[in-house]
């Protein structure tokens, strides 16, 4: 009997990503949906959040009225600093990324290719004003790059693709995709599905993505 596909909500997805972040990890959460992951990090785990604009040990948004315009995150929202946190300049901040000191970064994506190429900064549309920020540094810098995205576009096209049609952010840099339908590892052998949401089966997922998927430990 076929059940409906139980697609994960953004919040469920953020919680799912949060589950995989171990205590002691140094983590950068990209602008947008990845920022939500912070809301689901278990309070009993000490995890170090880095923000590209020069802080480590980022805490939650301050109470209303306690905002400080000189204490913001990469998305320019007010944040707080945990005891044990630190401030540093942009050179040091991007040395942390580029130098491989971050354990994990979580980024959004327009497309991920089967070889791990990431496209998340530019749709390539002629009238779009490009803006890259720290995406390219994070993509190639962190020890593990997690992507958080819907697996399909609104019009139903797979965002996991044979080859990115959008301009690249980084080459062969994505290690894992957390999507609303499945969790997919990417390594030298290509994409390998390690989790699917209830109601989704291998054949359906294959048909949705149109790329060669391997499966490990998932229920058919």
């Amino acid at each position: 009997m076929t059940q409906d596909i139980q697609r994960m909500s953004r919040d469920q997805l953020a919680a799912r990503v949060a589950r995989d972040i171990p205590e002691g990890a140094y983590v950068n959460l990209g602008i947008g949906a990845p920022t939500q992951v912070a809301n689901y990090l278990p309070p009993d785990r000490e995890i170090f959040l880095q923000s590209e604009n020069g802080l480590l040990g980022m805490g939650p948004a301050p109470a209303k009225g306690q905002e400080d315009p000189e204490l913001i995150n990469a998305g320019k929202q007010p944040v707080s600093l945990l005891p044990g946190g630190s401030y540093f300049h942009h050179g040091d901040s991007f040395a942390m990324m580029r130098g491989g000191h971050l354990d994990i970064c979580v980024l959004g994506a327009f497309q991920v290719a089967v070889n791990g190429d990431l496209a998340n900064w530019h749709t390539g549309a002629a009238d779009a004003i490009p803006a890259v920020g720290g995406a390219m540094d994070l993509a190639i810098g962190a020890k593990q790059v997690f992507v958080m995205m819907d697996l399909l576009t609104k019009s139903g096209e797979s965002k996991l693709v044979e080859r990115c049609s959008y301009p690249l952010t980084g080459v062969s840099c994505v290690d894992r995709i957390y999507s609303d339908l499945a969790v997919i590892d990417i390594d030298a052998n290509g994409p390998r599905v390690i989790e699917m949401v209830p109601g989704l089966d291998i054949e359906t997922l294959r048909a949705m993505t149109g790329v060669d998927l391997k499966f490990t430990g998932v229920q058919a």
């Binding site: 923000s51 590209e52 604009n53 020069g54 802080l55 400080d68 315009p69 000189e70 204490l71 913001i72 320019k76 600093l81 401030y87 540093f88 300049h89 942009h90 050179g91 901040s93 991007f94 040395a95 990324m97 580029r98 190429d117 530019h122 009238d127 004003i129 490009p130 803006a131 890259v132 920020g133 720290g134 995406a135 390219m136 540094d137 190639i140 810098g141 301009p167 690249l168 952010t169 980084g170 080459v171």
Partner: protein, 229 residues
């Protein structure tokens, strides 16, 4: 006696020339030296090349400089924001040139200039449109792009506390590009929330030593934060 203190913003920025490359500190509005930028608008210099992480927010500060038509080109990582309407309009009208640089390459190219390096091989941007036409090299199994230093004639930055020798400390995430831009410009001009007597800043906590600073002007904004007790 050496004093780098200036009495007014106008005097501090008076000699910025047409065509100058001007680094402007700040990440969004945090650390943006708004009063120095206002001074630069008043100074009247044109055809400026501006280096900043963004391309202006709202209608003040860098956005106002753009709106005044003084900027020929901007070198930045993240121009498009919810409130970057001034830049957006100029860009769509073909009235401003954009050199888009990944944020970490912006940082390390500025650092390279300050540190006297001729060029650096950075992994960021390899294989992307932002590295097109640039020299690449595989070193120890990894691919890198050759990037050149970004220098400036002038850096305008905001700090929290300064002294007459130009020693600086910053406040929270307003630090951002200040320390690295201070080193990469021929003339670094600083607006300080507070100027204190020489020796009042602990030598262990000075972030920018005075050697990198030419001019300091105290800007006592109404909303500035008091000195910590």
């Amino acid at each position: 006696m050496i004093s780098k203190l200036f009495d007014s913003v106008a005097a501090a920025v008076a000699d910025i020339q047409d065509g100058a490359t001007v680094m402007i500190g700040g990440f969004g509005t945090a650390g943006m030296p708004s009063e120095l930028i206002d001074g630069l608008i008043g100074n009247g210099a044109r055809d400026l090349v501006v280096v900043n992480n963004n391309a202006g927010n709202g209608e003040t500060g860098l956005a106002a400089l753009l709106k005044a038509g003084r900027v020929r080109k901007i070198i930045c990582s993240f121009p498009r924001q919810a409130d970057s309407q001034v830049f957006d309009a100029l860009y769509r009208a073909g009235k401003i040139e954009l050199e888009l640089v990944p944020q970490g390459n912006l940082a390390c190219r500025i650092e390279a200039a300050g540190a006297g390096l001729g060029a650096i091989f950075t992994p960021t941007g390899y294989g992307t449109a932002l590295a097109e036409g640039k020299e690449t090299r595989r070193i120890a199994g990894r691919d890198y792009v050759l990037e050149l230093p970004i220098r400036a004639d002038v850096a305008l930055i905001k700090c929290h506390i300064a002294d007459r020798w130009g020693n600086l400390t910053y406040r929270k995430t307003a630090r951002n590009f200040g320390p690295i831009m201070a080193r990469a410009a021929a003339t670094t001009i600083v607006q300080a929330d507070h100027v204190v007597a020489l020796g009042q800043i602990d030598p262990e906590v000075i972030v920018t030593p005075g050697i990198f600073v030419k001019r300091v002007v105290e800007v006592a904004r109404a909303d500035r934060l008091p000195l910590a007790a």
